[in-house]
Amino acid sequence: MFTEYVFHFLSIMALFSAVMVLASKKPIHSVLFLTMTFFAIAGHYVLLNAQFLAVVHVIVYAGAIMVLFLFTVMLLNLNKDERSLKPMWVKIIAGIAGGMLMLILVGVFREYDVQSAQDPMTTQIGLVKNLGKILYHDYLLPFEMSSVLFLTAMVGAVLLGKKEQI
Amino acid sequence: MLTILLILLPLALSLIILIFKEEKAIRQFALAGSLIEFGVGVAAFIQYKTSCHCNLLFTTDWLATLGVSLKFGMDGISLLLVMLTTFLLPIIILASFNHAYSRPSAFYSLILLMEMALIGVFTSFDGLIFYIFWELALIPAYFICAVWGGDDRIRITFKFFIYTFVGSLFMLVALIYLYFRTPLPHSFDFQGLYAVRLNPGEQTWIFLAFFLAFVVKIPIFPFHTWQPDTYSGAPATGSMLLAGIMLKMGLYGMIRWMIPICNDAVQEWGGVAMILAITGIVYASLIAIRQNDMKRLIAYSSIAHVGLIAAGLLSLTTYAMQGAVIQMVSHGINIVGLFIIIDLIEQRTKTRNISNLGGIARTAPRLAIFFMLFLLASIALPLTNSFVGEFLLLLGLFEYSAIFAAVAGLTIIFSAVYMLWMYQRTMLGKANEFTENIHDLTWTEMAALVPLVVMVFWIGMFPGLFLNVALPDVMQILNYTK
C-alpha cells in the first residue's frame, strides 16, 4: 500500500510541475518546474528498483541539462515575459489535439496485456552491477559509440556557440 | 573467376584513371585498359567454348539474411553481350580521340564505370544485383550526356533519366514481389525467382511491371520519345554507348527475366505487346524518312530495329529468339559504326543536318565507303550481320503470325528508303561549302571502323559460332515457357 501512495504522490507531483512548466510566464520558472518533474521521475525510477537509472537521471537531467537551460536563460537574458501567447483558437486546437492523442494512447495501451513475470519492486536488473555487466558485454559497441556521439555533440556545440563566423 | 574479373577490372581502371592529369596519357590508358578488358572477354569466351559450359559462375554471400548473394555468371546469351560490350568499348574510346572533351579523366572514368555496370547487368544472376547494376549503368550515362552533351542537354538528359528510372522502379517492385513469393528463406537468385509459381492475375501485373521497365529502355513505341532527343543531345561517345550497348539491357532483361518468370502472361499478352512493337517499327520507319538531323534519323531507325527484336522475342519461337540474340549484337555493331561515321562527318563539317551536306563521296571516298558498308549492314543486306538476325526474327514472327511478319517486314523496305535517302543527300551529289574541303579518314579513324566492318561480315557470313553459343540457353529460356 505504501508504494501505491508513493506512486500517486510522485505522479501528481510530476504532472503538476509539468503543467506548471507550461503555465509559467517566465522561462526561468519553467526550468525550475521542469527540474521538479525530473526529480519526481527519478523517484519513479527508484520505485521501479532501477537505481542506476535514477542516479544517472538525476545527474544527467537535473545536473547537466537543467544547468544548461538555466545558463542559456540567464546568460542570454531571455527571462522576459512572453509578450503574446498564441491566439486562443490555437490553444483550443492544441488542447483538442493533445487530448485526442492522450485518449488514443490510453486506448492503445488498454489493449496491452502484460504478463508480469516479475515483481517490479524486487527485480534485480536495475542494479548497477547487473546493468553494468550487460552494458559492457552485450552493448559494448553502442556504449563506446555513444562517447563518440558526445564528442561530436561537444564539437558541434562549441562550433555553433563561437562568436566569430566560421 | 573471369566473370568477376570482367566486372572489377573496369571499376579499378575507372578509379585509377582519375589520377592521371595529362589528356594523352588518359586516353592511352583508357584505350589500353579497355583492350585488356576485351582480352579478358575473349579469354572468357574461349574458356566457355572449350572447357566448361559451366556458366563461369562466381558466387559469394552478400546480404545473407536478405537472401542476396553476389552471383555472377555467364550463359551463352550473356556471354555474347559481354563480348559485344568489351569489343565495342575500345572502339568507342578510340573514336572519341578526336574530341577534346573537357575534364578527360572524369569522362573516361565514367565510360569505364559504365562498362563495368553494363557487364554487371549482363552477368548478374541475382535479381537485386541485376537491379543495382541496371540503375548503376544509368548514372554514368546521365553524367556523360549532361556534362558533355550538346544544346539543351540538361533538360533532355533529365527527361531520359527520369523516364528510364521510373520505368525501372516498376521492375524493382516486381522483383521484390517475386522475392516474397519465393519459398523461405527468401532469395533473389534467378533460379529461385524462375521457380516461383504465380497465378494468372499476379503474372499479368508482374509482366506489366517488367514490360514497362524494359519497354522504356528498349524503347518500344509509344515509350520512345526520350530516345531521339537523347541521341541528338548526347555527345557522340554517349550516343554510341547508349545505342550500342545500353539499349540491349532492356532486351536482355526481357530474355533473362520477363520471359522465364511470367511465361503465361507473355503468352497471353505477348500479342498485344507485339502489336505495339510492330506499330513502332512502321511508325518509327515512317518518321525516319523525313528527319533532317542524321542522329535523329538513326535514332528512329534504331527504334524500328529494336522493335523488331522485341517483337521477335515476344513471339517465343526458337528462330526469333536466336535471331534476337544475334541481332542485338549486330545492331550494337552497326549503330556504333553509323554513329562513328556521323560523328566524323560532324567533326569535319560542323553540321549534322542532311540538308547542309552532300558530295562527301567525292571529297572523302573512304568515309563514303565505310558509311555505305554500315548502311548496308543496317538495312540487312544478305551476308551482313543484320540479315542473319532479321531473317531469323522474321522467320520466327512468321511462325507466330504471317500478318505480323508481313507488317514487320516492311522495315526492310522503309529502312532502304530512309537510309538511302540519307546516303544520297549526304554522300552523293555535288559538294557544297560544308563538304568541299574535308579530308578523308585518318588511320586512327580507320582503326576504329575496320574491326566493326570485320565483325559485320564475320557475323554475316559465318554466324554459326555466335548462334551455337547462344542456342542451348535460348532453348532453355524457351523451355520455361512450355
Partner: protein, 105 residues
C-alpha cells in the same frame, strides 16, 4: 512485499501518456523555443519512464539499457539544441518561433 502492493502497469501507462500529452500540448502552444525544448524533454522523459517500467515488469534489462542510451542522446541533443537557440538569438534577437519562419516554400 505482497502482490497486493504491486502497482499495475496500467498506472504507468496512463501516467506516462498524460505526461507525454502535456509535453505535446506544450510544444503546440508555446512560442518560446526554449520552452518547446523543455516540453520535448518532458516527452522524452515520459517515454524513458515507460521503457524502464516495461523493463522492470518483464525483467528485461534491454529496456533500461535503452533508457540509458536515450539519455545520452538527449543530453547531446540538448547541448546542440541550445547552441542553436543561442545562435539564432544572436542573429535575430528573438527565439519566438512564430518570427522564425524564414525557411519556407
Amino acid at each position: 512485499m505482497s502482490n497486493l502492493a504491486t502497482i499495475p502497469i496500467e498506472y504507468y501507462l496512463v501516467f506516462c501518456s498524460v505526461l507525454f500529452c502535456i509535453g505535446v500540448f506544450g510544444v503546440l502552444i508555446k512560442r518560446n523555443a526554449l520552452v518547446i525544448l523543455m516540453s520535448i524533454e518532458l516527452m522524452i522523459n515520459s517515454i524513458n519512464l515507460l521503457l524502464a517500467a516495461f523493463s522492470a515488469y518483464t525483467n528485461d534489462p534491454a529496456g533500461q539499457i535503452f533508457v540509458f542510451f536515450i539519455m545520452v542522446v538527449a543530453a547531446a541533443e540538448v547541448a546542440i539544441g541550445l547552441a542553436i537557440v543561442v545562435l539564432i538569438y544572436r542573429t535575430t534577437h528573438s527565439i519566438d518561433i512564430d518570427v522564425l519562419n524564414k525557411l519556407k516554400w
